[in-house]
Protein backbone atom coordinates (compact mmCIF):
# COMPACT_ATOMS: atom_id res chain seq x y z
CA UNK A 1 0.00 0.00 0.00
CA UNK A 2 2.71 2.44 1.10
CA UNK A 3 4.95 1.29 -1.70
CA UNK A 4 2.34 1.92 -4.35
CA UNK A 5 1.64 5.39 -3.02
CA UNK A 6 5.33 6.28 -2.74
CA UNK A 7 5.87 7.78 -6.22
CA UNK A 8 2.81 9.96 -5.71
CA UNK A 9 4.00 11.15 -2.29
CA UNK A 10 7.45 11.87 -3.69
CA UNK A 11 6.09 13.95 -6.55
CA UNK A 12 3.86 15.89 -4.16
CA UNK A 13 6.74 16.69 -1.80
CA UNK A 14 8.96 17.73 -4.68
CA UNK A 15 6.30 19.98 -6.21
CA UNK A 16 5.55 21.53 -2.82
CA UNK A 17 9.22 22.34 -2.38
CA UNK A 18 9.51 23.84 -5.86
CA UNK A 19 6.45 26.00 -5.17
CA UNK A 20 8.09 27.13 -1.92
CA UNK A 21 11.33 27.86 -3.78
CA UNK A 22 9.51 29.89 -6.43
CA UNK A 23 7.10 31.81 -4.18
CA UNK A 24 9.38 34.79 -3.38
CA UNK A 25 10.48 34.78 -7.03
CA UNK A 26 6.89 35.00 -8.21
CA UNK A 27 6.41 37.94 -5.86
CA UNK A 28 9.52 39.55 -7.31
CA UNK A 29 8.36 38.99 -10.88
CA UNK A 30 4.94 40.52 -10.19
CA UNK A 31 6.41 43.66 -8.60
CA UNK A 32 8.95 44.02 -11.40
CA UNK A 33 6.09 44.54 -13.88
CA UNK A 34 4.30 47.14 -11.73
CA UNK A 35 4.97 50.87 -11.77
CA UNK A 36 5.87 51.75 -8.19
CA UNK A 37 6.92 55.38 -8.53
CA UNK A 38 4.72 58.08 -10.08
CA UNK A 39 5.84 58.96 -13.60
CA UNK A 40 4.21 61.28 -16.12
CA UNK A 41 3.02 58.49 -18.43
CA UNK A 42 2.08 55.67 -16.02
CA UNK A 43 -0.01 55.64 -12.86
CA UNK A 44 1.34 53.94 -9.75
CA UNK A 45 0.15 50.34 -9.57
CA UNK A 46 -0.45 49.86 -13.28
CA UNK A 47 1.22 47.11 -15.25
CA UNK A 48 4.24 48.29 -17.18
CA UNK A 49 7.43 47.23 -18.89
CA UNK A 50 8.96 50.55 -17.86
CA UNK A 51 11.14 49.03 -15.13
CA UNK A 52 12.93 46.89 -17.68
CA UNK A 53 13.25 49.82 -20.05
CA UNK A 54 14.81 51.79 -17.20
CA UNK A 55 17.50 49.13 -16.77
CA UNK A 56 18.53 49.61 -20.37
CA UNK A 57 18.44 53.39 -20.01
CA UNK A 58 20.58 53.53 -16.89
CA UNK A 59 24.30 53.49 -17.76
CA UNK A 60 25.21 52.56 -14.15
CA UNK A 61 23.10 49.42 -14.29
CA UNK A 62 24.37 48.50 -17.74
CA UNK A 63 27.99 48.77 -16.63
CA UNK A 64 27.15 46.85 -13.41
CA UNK A 65 26.05 43.88 -15.51
CA UNK A 66 29.30 44.12 -17.47
CA UNK A 67 31.33 44.26 -14.25
CA UNK A 68 29.58 41.23 -12.75
CA UNK A 69 30.15 39.13 -15.85
CA UNK A 70 33.76 40.30 -16.05
CA UNK A 71 34.73 39.49 -12.46
CA UNK A 72 33.02 36.10 -12.47
CA UNK A 73 34.78 35.14 -15.71
CA UNK A 74 38.15 36.37 -14.43
CA UNK A 75 37.57 34.45 -11.20
CA UNK A 76 36.83 31.23 -13.09
CA UNK A 77 39.88 31.76 -15.31
CA UNK A 78 42.11 32.12 -12.24
CA UNK A 79 40.50 29.42 -10.11
CA UNK A 80 40.26 26.48 -12.51
CA UNK A 81 43.83 26.41 -13.89
CA UNK A 82 45.18 26.73 -10.35
CA UNK A 83 42.77 24.15 -8.94
CA UNK A 84 43.35 21.40 -11.54
CA UNK A 85 47.01 20.57 -10.68
CA UNK A 86 46.23 20.86 -6.96
CA UNK A 87 43.24 18.54 -7.32
CA UNK A 88 45.41 16.10 -9.27
CA UNK A 89 48.03 16.12 -6.52
CA UNK A 90 45.44 15.60 -3.75
CA UNK A 91 43.83 12.80 -5.74
CA UNK A 92 46.88 10.83 -6.86
CA UNK A 93 49.80 11.62 -4.61
CA UNK A 94 50.44 11.57 -0.93
CA UNK A 95 53.02 14.12 0.10
CA UNK A 96 54.38 15.62 3.26
CA UNK A 97 51.65 17.67 4.93
CA UNK A 98 48.91 16.95 2.40
CA UNK A 99 46.23 16.44 5.05
CA UNK A 100 47.24 19.63 6.86
CA UNK A 101 47.25 21.62 3.66
CA UNK A 102 43.75 20.43 2.81
CA UNK A 103 42.70 21.31 6.34
CA UNK A 104 44.01 24.85 5.80
CA UNK A 105 42.14 25.10 2.48
CA UNK A 106 38.88 24.00 4.09
CA UNK A 107 39.42 26.44 6.97
CA UNK A 108 39.75 29.32 4.49
CA UNK A 109 36.68 28.16 2.59
CA UNK A 110 34.52 28.46 5.67
CA UNK A 111 36.11 31.66 6.99
CA UNK A 112 33.38 34.30 6.80
CA UNK A 113 34.49 37.08 4.41
CA UNK A 114 33.58 39.70 7.00
CA UNK A 115 36.51 38.49 9.14
CA UNK A 116 39.02 39.42 6.43
CA UNK A 117 37.35 42.46 4.83
CA UNK A 118 39.51 45.14 6.43
CA UNK A 119 42.99 43.72 5.68
CA UNK A 120 41.91 42.50 2.24
CA UNK A 121 40.80 46.04 1.48
CA UNK A 122 44.12 47.48 2.68
CA UNK A 123 46.19 44.86 0.87
CA UNK A 124 44.33 45.33 -2.39
CA UNK A 125 44.54 49.11 -2.10
CA UNK A 126 48.30 48.81 -1.62
CA UNK A 127 48.51 46.54 -4.66
CA UNK A 128 46.36 48.99 -6.62
CA UNK A 129 43.63 46.49 -7.48
CA UNK A 130 40.79 47.75 -5.33
CA UNK A 131 37.86 49.34 -7.15
CA UNK A 132 38.42 47.02 -10.09
CA UNK A 133 36.80 43.82 -11.24
CA UNK A 134 40.17 42.11 -10.95
CA UNK A 135 40.26 42.78 -7.21
CA UNK A 136 36.88 41.15 -6.58
CA UNK A 137 37.81 38.21 -8.79
CA UNK A 138 40.97 37.65 -6.77
CA UNK A 139 39.24 38.02 -3.38
CA UNK A 140 36.58 35.48 -4.35
CA UNK A 141 39.32 32.87 -4.89
CA UNK A 142 39.35 32.64 -1.09
CA UNK A 143 36.20 30.53 -1.10
CA UNK A 144 36.04 29.35 -4.73
CA UNK A 145 39.50 27.78 -4.91
CA UNK A 146 39.06 25.29 -2.03
CA UNK A 147 35.62 24.20 -3.21
CA UNK A 148 36.94 23.83 -6.79
CA UNK A 149 39.78 21.62 -5.60
CA UNK A 150 37.30 19.52 -3.64
CA UNK A 151 34.97 19.04 -6.63
CA UNK A 152 37.74 18.47 -9.21
CA UNK A 153 39.60 15.93 -7.10
CA UNK A 154 36.41 13.86 -6.85
CA UNK A 155 36.19 13.78 -10.63
CA UNK A 156 39.88 12.90 -11.00
CA UNK A 157 39.59 10.14 -8.37
CA UNK A 158 36.76 8.60 -10.41
CA UNK A 159 39.14 8.03 -13.33
CA UNK A 160 41.00 4.72 -13.16
CA UNK A 161 44.66 5.03 -12.27
CA UNK A 162 45.58 2.74 -15.16
CA UNK A 163 45.11 5.75 -17.46
CA UNK A 164 47.97 7.56 -15.69
CA UNK A 165 50.21 4.52 -15.63
CA UNK A 166 49.79 3.72 -19.31
CA UNK A 167 50.57 7.31 -20.23
CA UNK A 168 53.69 7.37 -18.05
CA UNK A 169 54.90 4.10 -19.67
CA UNK A 170 54.44 5.80 -23.04
CA UNK A 171 56.81 8.51 -21.85
CA UNK A 172 54.37 11.30 -20.98
CA UNK A 173 55.35 13.62 -18.17
CA UNK A 174 52.76 14.44 -15.49
CA UNK A 175 51.92 17.95 -16.80
CA UNK A 176 51.62 16.62 -20.37
CA UNK A 177 49.46 13.75 -19.14
CA UNK A 178 47.13 16.21 -17.38
CA UNK A 179 46.92 18.35 -20.51
CA UNK A 180 46.40 15.59 -23.13
CA UNK A 181 44.54 12.84 -21.28
CA UNK A 182 43.09 14.07 -18.03
CA UNK A 183 41.49 17.33 -19.16
CA UNK A 184 39.22 15.74 -21.81
CA UNK A 185 38.20 13.10 -19.26
CA UNK A 186 37.23 15.59 -16.59
CA UNK A 187 35.60 18.14 -18.91
CA UNK A 188 32.19 17.66 -17.26
CA UNK A 189 33.89 18.15 -13.90
CA UNK A 190 35.38 21.43 -15.07
CA UNK A 191 31.92 22.54 -16.20
CA UNK A 192 30.38 21.64 -12.83
CA UNK A 193 33.22 23.42 -11.01
CA UNK A 194 32.82 26.54 -13.13
CA UNK A 195 29.11 26.47 -12.34
CA UNK A 196 29.76 26.34 -8.60
CA UNK A 197 32.32 29.17 -8.90
CA UNK A 198 29.75 31.22 -10.75
CA UNK A 199 27.06 30.46 -8.20
CA UNK A 200 29.10 31.43 -5.14
CA UNK A 201 30.75 34.43 -6.78
CA UNK A 202 27.86 36.08 -8.65
CA UNK A 203 25.75 36.65 -5.54
CA UNK A 204 28.48 37.43 -2.98
CA UNK A 205 28.23 40.90 -1.47
CA UNK A 206 30.67 41.37 1.44
CA UNK A 207 33.91 41.53 -0.58
CA UNK A 208 32.06 43.11 -3.48
CA UNK A 209 30.93 45.95 -1.23
CA UNK A 210 34.25 46.73 0.42
CA UNK A 211 36.28 46.45 -2.79
CA UNK A 212 34.08 48.66 -4.98
CA UNK A 213 33.56 51.92 -3.13
CA UNK A 214 34.05 54.11 -6.19
CA UNK A 215 34.34 51.97 -9.26
CA UNK A 216 33.72 48.52 -10.70
CA UNK A 217 30.41 48.01 -8.87
CA UNK A 218 28.76 44.65 -9.61
CA UNK A 219 24.98 44.20 -9.93
CA UNK A 220 24.39 43.53 -6.25
CA UNK A 221 26.00 46.84 -5.31
CA UNK A 222 24.20 48.68 -8.12
CA UNK A 223 20.94 47.40 -6.63
CA UNK A 224 22.02 48.66 -3.21
CA UNK A 225 22.62 52.09 -4.73
CA UNK A 226 19.00 52.15 -5.90
CA UNK A 227 17.74 52.15 -2.32
CA UNK A 228 17.30 55.68 -1.09
CA UNK A 229 14.82 58.30 0.03
CA UNK A 230 12.35 57.26 -2.65
CA UNK A 231 13.07 53.70 -3.67
CA UNK A 232 11.69 52.50 -6.98
CA UNK A 233 11.03 48.99 -5.71
CA UNK A 234 9.70 47.91 -9.12
CA UNK A 235 13.04 48.78 -10.70
CA UNK A 236 14.90 47.02 -7.86
CA UNK A 237 12.92 43.82 -8.47
CA UNK A 238 13.39 44.09 -12.23
CA UNK A 239 17.16 44.39 -11.83
CA UNK A 240 17.20 41.43 -9.42
CA UNK A 241 15.21 39.33 -11.86
CA UNK A 242 17.50 40.32 -14.72
CA UNK A 243 20.52 39.45 -12.59
CA UNK A 244 19.21 35.91 -12.19
CA UNK A 245 18.80 35.26 -15.91
CA UNK A 246 22.46 34.34 -16.66
CA UNK A 247 22.48 31.91 -13.75
CA UNK A 248 19.16 30.38 -14.75
CA UNK A 249 20.40 29.88 -18.31
CA UNK A 250 23.58 28.32 -16.95
CA UNK A 251 21.68 25.94 -14.62
CA UNK A 252 19.41 24.91 -17.45
CA UNK A 253 22.26 24.22 -19.85
CA UNK A 254 24.19 22.42 -17.10
CA UNK A 255 21.24 20.29 -16.02
CA UNK A 256 22.47 17.11 -17.74
CA UNK A 257 25.91 17.38 -16.15
CA UNK A 258 24.32 18.00 -12.78
CA UNK A 259 21.74 15.26 -13.16
CA UNK A 260 24.05 12.62 -14.61
CA UNK A 261 25.68 12.70 -11.26
CA UNK A 262 29.10 13.63 -10.10
CA UNK A 263 30.86 11.82 -7.37
CA UNK A 264 31.84 14.09 -4.53
CA UNK A 265 33.86 12.40 -1.89
CA UNK A 266 36.80 12.43 0.37
CA UNK A 267 40.31 13.71 -0.13
Amino acid sequence: MVRRALPFIKTTILLAFIVFACLPLVQMTIISFVATLPRPDTAVGSLTLGNYANILNDPNLRSAFGNSVAYVLINICITIPVAIPAAYAFSRMSFLGDKHLFFAFIAFRITPPVVLTLPVFQLFSALGISNSVFGIALAHCLFNLPISIWILQSFISAIPKELDETAFLDGYSKPRFIWTFLLPQIAPGIAVTAFFCFMFSWVEVVFARILTTTNGKPISMAINALFGFQTDIGLVMAVTLASMIPGAVLVFSMRHHLSRGFKLGRI
Binding site: L14, F17, M28, M93, I110
Partner: protein, 291 residues
Amino acid sequence: MKDHSNTGWIFVLPAALLLGLVGVIPLVTVINYSFFEIFILDQRFWVGTEWYGDIIRSGRFWSSFGRSALFSALVLCIQIPLGIAIALCIPRNQFWVGLALAGIALPLLVPWNMIPSLWLSLLNPGTGILGRIMADYGWTTDWKLSAVQTWAVLLAMDTWHWTSLVVILCYSALTTIPSAYYQAANIDGAGPWQVFRHIQLPKLQHVLLMAVLLRFMDSFMIYTEAFPINAGGPDGATMFLAVDLGEDIKAFNYGPSAARSVLYFLIVLTVAWVFMKRQNQIDAPETREGH
Protein backbone atom coordinates in the same frame (compact mmCIF):
# COMPACT_ATOMS: atom_id res chain seq x y z
CA MET B 1 46.57 3.61 -3.55
CA LYS B 2 48.29 6.95 -3.76
CA ASP B 3 51.94 7.39 -4.71
CA HIS B 4 54.22 8.76 -2.06
CA SER B 5 55.84 11.66 -3.79
CA ASN B 6 56.68 15.10 -2.52
CA THR B 7 56.51 16.45 -6.08
CA GLY B 8 52.85 16.85 -5.13
CA TRP B 9 53.92 20.13 -3.58
CA ILE B 10 54.82 21.52 -7.01
CA PHE B 11 51.26 20.85 -8.15
CA VAL B 12 49.59 22.45 -5.14
CA LEU B 13 52.04 25.37 -5.01
CA PRO B 14 50.02 27.78 -7.21
CA ALA B 15 46.91 27.14 -5.11
CA ALA B 16 48.84 27.55 -1.86
CA LEU B 17 50.40 30.82 -3.07
CA LEU B 18 47.05 32.21 -4.18
CA LEU B 19 45.41 31.41 -0.86
CA GLY B 20 48.50 32.79 0.87
CA LEU B 21 47.87 36.12 -0.84
CA VAL B 22 44.12 36.41 -0.26
CA GLY B 23 43.94 34.39 2.95
CA VAL B 24 47.11 34.11 5.00
CA ILE B 25 48.46 37.67 4.56
CA PRO B 26 45.14 39.30 5.58
CA LEU B 27 44.86 36.88 8.47
CA VAL B 28 48.34 37.72 9.78
CA THR B 29 47.50 41.42 9.43
CA VAL B 30 44.35 40.92 11.49
CA ILE B 31 46.22 39.03 14.20
CA ASN B 32 48.79 41.83 14.31
CA TYR B 33 46.13 44.57 14.61
CA SER B 34 44.34 42.72 17.37
CA PHE B 35 47.09 43.58 19.88
CA PHE B 36 47.10 47.33 19.20
CA GLU B 37 45.05 50.41 19.88
CA ILE B 38 44.86 52.07 16.47
CA PHE B 39 43.52 55.56 15.76
CA ILE B 40 45.11 55.95 12.36
CA LEU B 41 47.21 53.21 10.86
CA ASP B 42 50.55 55.03 11.34
CA GLN B 43 49.96 55.56 15.06
CA ARG B 44 49.43 52.50 17.17
CA PHE B 45 49.90 51.52 20.78
CA TRP B 46 50.53 48.06 22.09
CA VAL B 47 47.67 46.97 24.32
CA GLY B 48 48.43 43.26 24.56
CA THR B 49 45.39 41.06 24.99
CA GLU B 50 43.15 43.85 26.29
CA TRP B 51 40.67 43.64 23.38
CA TYR B 52 40.37 39.90 23.78
CA GLY B 53 39.69 40.29 27.49
CA ASP B 54 37.02 42.92 26.80
CA ILE B 55 35.23 40.66 24.32
CA ILE B 56 35.46 37.46 26.36
CA ARG B 57 34.19 39.22 29.48
CA SER B 58 31.30 41.00 27.76
CA GLY B 59 27.89 39.40 28.19
CA ARG B 60 26.96 40.73 24.77
CA PHE B 61 29.51 38.46 23.07
CA TRP B 62 28.29 35.35 24.83
CA SER B 63 24.61 36.08 24.23
CA SER B 64 25.34 36.65 20.51
CA PHE B 65 27.33 33.44 20.53
CA GLY B 66 24.41 31.55 22.07
CA ARG B 67 21.94 33.00 19.56
CA SER B 68 24.20 32.12 16.62
CA ALA B 69 24.71 28.59 17.94
CA LEU B 70 20.96 28.11 18.38
CA PHE B 71 20.29 29.49 14.91
CA SER B 72 22.87 27.14 13.35
CA ALA B 73 21.49 24.16 15.24
CA LEU B 74 17.95 24.91 14.03
CA VAL B 75 19.16 25.52 10.47
CA LEU B 76 20.96 22.15 10.41
CA CYS B 77 18.00 20.30 11.97
CA ILE B 78 15.66 21.68 9.30
CA GLN B 79 17.79 21.88 6.17
CA ILE B 80 19.81 18.67 6.25
CA PRO B 81 16.83 16.23 6.62
CA LEU B 82 14.74 18.35 4.25
CA GLY B 83 17.57 18.43 1.71
CA ILE B 84 17.97 14.64 1.85
CA ALA B 85 14.20 14.13 1.56
CA ILE B 86 13.91 16.39 -1.49
CA ALA B 87 16.94 14.77 -3.14
CA LEU B 88 15.27 11.36 -2.68
CA CYS B 89 12.09 12.70 -4.28
CA ILE B 90 13.75 13.83 -7.52
CA PRO B 91 12.51 11.53 -10.30
CA ARG B 92 14.81 9.30 -12.36
CA ASN B 93 13.42 10.45 -15.69
CA GLN B 94 16.11 12.57 -17.42
CA PHE B 95 13.76 15.28 -18.68
CA TRP B 96 12.11 15.96 -15.34
CA VAL B 97 15.42 15.81 -13.47
CA GLY B 98 16.69 18.75 -15.48
CA LEU B 99 13.61 20.84 -14.86
CA ALA B 100 13.44 19.94 -11.16
CA LEU B 101 17.12 20.77 -10.58
CA ALA B 102 16.81 24.06 -12.45
CA GLY B 103 13.75 25.03 -10.38
CA ILE B 104 15.38 24.01 -7.12
CA ALA B 105 18.58 25.93 -7.85
CA LEU B 106 16.86 29.27 -8.49
CA PRO B 107 17.06 30.62 -4.89
CA LEU B 108 20.85 30.20 -4.97
CA LEU B 109 21.07 32.73 -7.79
CA VAL B 110 19.52 35.70 -5.98
CA PRO B 111 22.06 38.34 -4.87
CA TRP B 112 22.38 37.96 -1.11
CA ASN B 113 21.58 41.55 -0.30
CA MET B 114 18.24 41.21 -2.11
CA ILE B 115 17.05 38.18 -0.14
CA PRO B 116 15.73 40.18 2.85
CA SER B 117 13.93 42.56 0.48
CA LEU B 118 12.27 39.64 -1.31
CA TRP B 119 11.00 38.18 1.95
CA LEU B 120 9.90 41.51 3.36
CA SER B 121 7.84 42.19 0.26
CA LEU B 122 6.48 38.63 0.34
CA LEU B 123 5.29 39.14 3.91
CA ASN B 124 3.99 42.65 3.37
CA PRO B 125 0.35 42.51 4.58
CA GLY B 126 -0.83 44.94 1.89
CA THR B 127 0.93 43.70 -1.24
CA GLY B 128 2.77 40.45 -0.47
CA ILE B 129 1.42 37.06 -1.49
CA LEU B 130 2.00 35.43 1.92
CA GLY B 131 1.18 38.61 3.80
CA ARG B 132 -2.23 38.90 2.16
CA ILE B 133 -3.02 35.23 2.72
CA MET B 134 -2.18 35.61 6.41
CA ALA B 135 -4.24 38.81 6.63
CA ASP B 136 -7.18 36.96 5.04
CA TYR B 137 -6.96 34.39 7.81
CA GLY B 138 -7.11 37.17 10.35
CA TRP B 139 -3.46 37.09 11.30
CA THR B 140 -2.69 40.77 11.35
CA THR B 141 -0.25 41.00 14.27
CA ASP B 142 3.07 42.53 13.32
CA TRP B 143 5.63 39.70 13.30
CA LYS B 144 8.44 42.21 13.78
CA LEU B 145 7.33 42.75 17.39
CA SER B 146 7.64 39.08 18.31
CA ALA B 147 11.03 37.45 18.81
CA VAL B 148 9.68 33.98 18.02
CA GLN B 149 8.03 35.12 14.81
CA THR B 150 11.12 37.03 13.67
CA TRP B 151 13.16 33.89 14.24
CA ALA B 152 10.61 31.90 12.25
CA VAL B 153 10.91 34.35 9.35
CA LEU B 154 14.71 34.16 9.45
CA LEU B 155 14.64 30.36 9.51
CA ALA B 156 12.14 30.22 6.64
CA MET B 157 14.28 32.62 4.64
CA ASP B 158 17.49 30.70 5.26
CA THR B 159 15.78 27.39 4.51
CA TRP B 160 14.45 28.85 1.28
CA HIS B 161 17.86 30.17 0.32
CA TRP B 162 20.15 27.28 1.17
CA THR B 163 18.26 23.95 1.24
CA SER B 164 18.78 23.85 -2.53
CA LEU B 165 22.53 23.50 -2.03
CA VAL B 166 22.00 20.48 0.25
CA VAL B 167 19.60 19.00 -2.31
CA ILE B 168 22.05 19.41 -5.22
CA LEU B 169 24.96 17.94 -3.24
CA CYS B 170 22.89 14.97 -1.99
CA TYR B 171 21.39 14.33 -5.40
CA SER B 172 24.86 14.22 -6.94
CA ALA B 173 25.87 11.51 -4.47
CA LEU B 174 22.66 9.50 -4.97
CA THR B 175 23.21 9.27 -8.74
CA THR B 176 26.50 7.44 -8.23
CA ILE B 177 24.73 4.41 -6.71
CA PRO B 178 24.75 1.62 -9.32
CA SER B 179 21.23 0.42 -10.23
CA ALA B 180 22.36 -3.14 -9.47
CA TYR B 181 22.23 -2.24 -5.77
CA TYR B 182 18.57 -1.31 -6.04
CA GLN B 183 17.79 -4.47 -8.00
CA ALA B 184 19.48 -6.60 -5.37
CA ALA B 185 17.54 -4.83 -2.64
CA ASN B 186 14.33 -5.40 -4.58
CA ILE B 187 15.03 -9.13 -4.89
CA ASP B 188 15.71 -9.30 -1.16
CA GLY B 189 12.39 -7.60 -0.55
CA ALA B 190 13.89 -4.57 1.19
CA GLY B 191 11.48 -1.75 1.94
CA PRO B 192 12.09 1.93 1.14
CA TRP B 193 13.43 2.59 4.65
CA GLN B 194 15.91 -0.30 4.47
CA VAL B 195 17.07 0.86 1.02
CA PHE B 196 17.63 4.33 2.45
CA ARG B 197 19.36 3.13 5.59
CA HIS B 198 21.69 0.56 4.03
CA ILE B 199 22.25 1.73 0.45
CA GLN B 200 21.58 5.43 0.12
CA LEU B 201 22.69 6.85 3.47
CA PRO B 202 26.19 5.30 3.40
CA LYS B 203 26.77 6.84 -0.05
CA LEU B 204 25.66 10.22 1.25
CA GLN B 205 28.08 10.37 4.20
CA HIS B 206 30.92 12.35 2.63
CA VAL B 207 28.70 14.82 0.84
CA LEU B 208 26.55 15.29 3.94
CA LEU B 209 29.63 16.05 5.98
CA MET B 210 30.58 18.80 3.53
CA ALA B 211 26.98 20.06 3.45
CA VAL B 212 26.85 20.19 7.25
CA LEU B 213 30.17 22.02 7.34
CA LEU B 214 29.15 24.63 4.77
CA ARG B 215 25.68 25.14 6.22
CA PHE B 216 26.95 25.31 9.78
CA MET B 217 29.57 27.95 9.15
CA ASP B 218 27.44 30.07 6.81
CA SER B 219 24.51 30.11 9.22
CA PHE B 220 26.72 30.62 12.27
CA MET B 221 28.23 33.71 10.67
CA ILE B 222 25.07 34.91 8.92
CA TYR B 223 25.55 38.59 8.14
CA THR B 224 24.13 40.06 4.97
CA GLU B 225 20.72 38.44 5.13
CA ALA B 226 19.84 38.56 8.82
CA PHE B 227 20.23 42.19 9.75
CA PRO B 228 17.85 43.91 7.27
CA ILE B 229 14.94 41.65 8.24
CA ASN B 230 14.41 43.25 11.65
CA ALA B 231 17.61 45.24 12.40
CA GLY B 232 18.65 42.68 15.01
CA GLY B 233 15.38 43.18 16.87
CA PRO B 234 13.00 42.93 18.52
CA ASP B 235 15.08 43.97 21.50
CA GLY B 236 18.29 42.39 20.19
CA ALA B 237 16.70 38.94 19.85
CA THR B 238 18.27 38.40 16.41
CA MET B 239 21.70 39.97 17.00
CA PHE B 240 24.10 37.35 15.68
CA LEU B 241 27.89 37.16 15.99
CA ALA B 242 28.77 38.60 12.61
CA VAL B 243 26.53 41.64 13.11
CA ASP B 244 28.70 42.85 16.01
CA LEU B 245 31.82 42.43 13.91
CA GLY B 246 30.25 44.25 10.98
CA GLU B 247 29.39 47.20 13.24
CA ASP B 248 32.94 47.36 14.64
CA ILE B 249 34.34 47.41 11.13
CA LYS B 250 31.93 50.09 9.96
CA ALA B 251 32.98 52.22 12.93
CA PHE B 252 36.69 51.69 11.99
CA ASN B 253 37.50 50.21 15.41
CA TYR B 254 40.58 48.44 14.03
CA GLY B 255 41.78 46.86 17.26
CA PRO B 256 38.53 45.45 18.69
CA SER B 257 37.28 44.33 15.26
CA ALA B 258 40.59 42.55 14.62
CA ALA B 259 40.44 40.79 17.98
CA ARG B 260 36.87 39.74 17.23
CA SER B 261 37.96 38.48 13.78
CA VAL B 262 40.71 36.37 15.34
CA LEU B 263 38.26 34.87 17.84
CA TYR B 264 35.86 34.04 15.01
CA PHE B 265 38.70 32.50 13.01
CA LEU B 266 39.54 30.30 16.01
CA ILE B 267 35.92 29.07 15.94
CA VAL B 268 36.37 28.35 12.21
CA LEU B 269 39.56 26.39 12.90
CA THR B 270 37.85 24.31 15.59
CA VAL B 271 34.96 23.48 13.28
CA ALA B 272 37.29 22.58 10.40
CA TRP B 273 39.30 20.39 12.76
CA VAL B 274 36.19 18.49 13.92
CA PHE B 275 35.27 18.09 10.24
CA MET B 276 38.63 16.54 9.37
CA LYS B 277 38.48 14.19 12.38
CA ARG B 278 35.02 13.06 11.38
CA GLN B 279 36.11 12.56 7.76
CA ASN B 280 39.01 10.37 8.86
CA GLN B 281 36.62 8.37 11.03
CA ILE B 282 34.35 7.72 8.06
CA ASP B 283 37.35 6.76 5.95
CA ALA B 284 38.86 4.36 8.45
CA PRO B 285 36.49 1.38 7.90
CA GLU B 286 36.62 1.86 4.13
CA THR B 287 40.39 1.56 3.94
CA ARG B 288 40.24 -1.55 6.14
CA GLU B 289 37.85 -3.14 3.69
CA GLY B 290 40.10 -2.14 0.81
CA HIS B 291 43.02 -4.17 2.09
